[in-house]
């Protein structure tokens, strides 16, 4: 059964907008796979009425497609710093869209600087991360959200 709450809706729309407008990809909600494909993690905090920490969990094929589409260059031609910068900016834009869609245009929200994360998504004292799965042309990826009041 699909969940429909404001966070889910804001995240789904932010993912759809950002993947389409920035990386020219369609990304739609998907079911959690039986086994999680290993991915690289990129995190950012969206500070509004509460803090939401978004962790973008991207397996290599998804990373590669996003970066190649944004740069218009092949993966092999790009440096690792180009690739990291591209994915961090992608997450920055996604988090900005999420904040706008979740809290609205008139709210005040701020973004932290995005960063490459090491290790599993962090759990806050109050809640474990919620994981949302998406499908971009049969390639699965996840976004983990931890809410801190």
């Amino acid at each position: 059964m699909s969940q429909t709450n404001p966070i889910d809706e804001a995240l789904e729309q932010a993912v759809a907008e950002t993947f389409s407008e920035m990386a020219f990809l369609d990304a739609i909600p998907a079911k959690k796979p039986a086994s999680n494909p290993p991915g690289q993690l990129f995190s950012i905090e969206v500070h509004g009425e509460q803090t939401n920490r978004l962790v973008l969990d991207l397996p290599l094929p998804v990373k590669q497609t996003i970066v190649e589409n944004i740069h218009g260059s092949s993966w092999e031609e790009l440096s690792s710093s180009d690739i990291d910068d591209c994915l961090l900016e992608f997450l920055n834009v996604l988090a900005g869209a999420f904040g706008r869609l979740y809290w609205g245009d008139e709210s005040r929200y701020k973004l932290s600087f995005p960063q490459v994360s090491v290790g599993p998504p962090r759990e806050s004292d109050s809640s474990p991360p919620d994981s949302f799965w998406f499908d971009a042309y049969d390639r699965l990826f996840a976004i983990h959200i931890t809410r801190e009041v």
Binding site: T18, E21, M22, I70, H71, D82, D85, C86, L88, E89, F90, N92, V93, A95, G96, A97, G99, R100, D105, E106, S107, R108, Y109, K110, L111, F113
Partner: protein
């Protein structure tokens, strides 16, 4: 002061090299004439560049290390030599209070990332 559509020398201020590349490409798609770009990764570096180069338009991000976009815009607008240079703000955050504060400082326009040639054209018009 040149209008936004007449800008040929553009300073792009953003800590992300990817964002600077996308912004540059959008201007190149929208313009028929050749453009000259200068790039800085934060407000402090941008102010140094403005001592060395005259520009017709500044496009700046807000969330940057060292000197953020709000401080940078304020410093430009307080400088008699630079105050008439049009500034477009490009940010991933959309916040009407922040935008009205920037408009109060004399910012010419605001674009929420991701920038696109269409969003740029709606603010700048046809630069050719």
């Amino acid at each position: 002061m040149r209008s936004l559509a007449e800008a040929r020398r553009i300073l792009i201020v953003d800590d992300s090299s990817t964002s600077r590349m996308i912004t540059r490409r959008c201007f190149e798609i929208a313009a028929s004439d050749s453009l000259t770009f200068h790039e800085a990764c934060d407000g402090a570096q941008a102010l140094s560049m403005l001592h060395e180069h005259e520009v017709d338009l500044i496009v700046t991000d807000i969330n940057m290390p060292k000197m953020d976009g709000m401080t940078f815009v304020w410093k430009v607008k307080m400088n008699p030599r630079l105050e008439s240079t049009p500034i477009l703000v490009l940010s991933s955050m959309k916040n009407e209070r922040m935008q009205s504060g920037l408009v109060g400082l004399g910012v010419a326009g605001f674009i929420q990332k991701p920038i696109s040639p269409a969003k740029l054209a709606s603010l700048v018009g046809d630069p050719s």
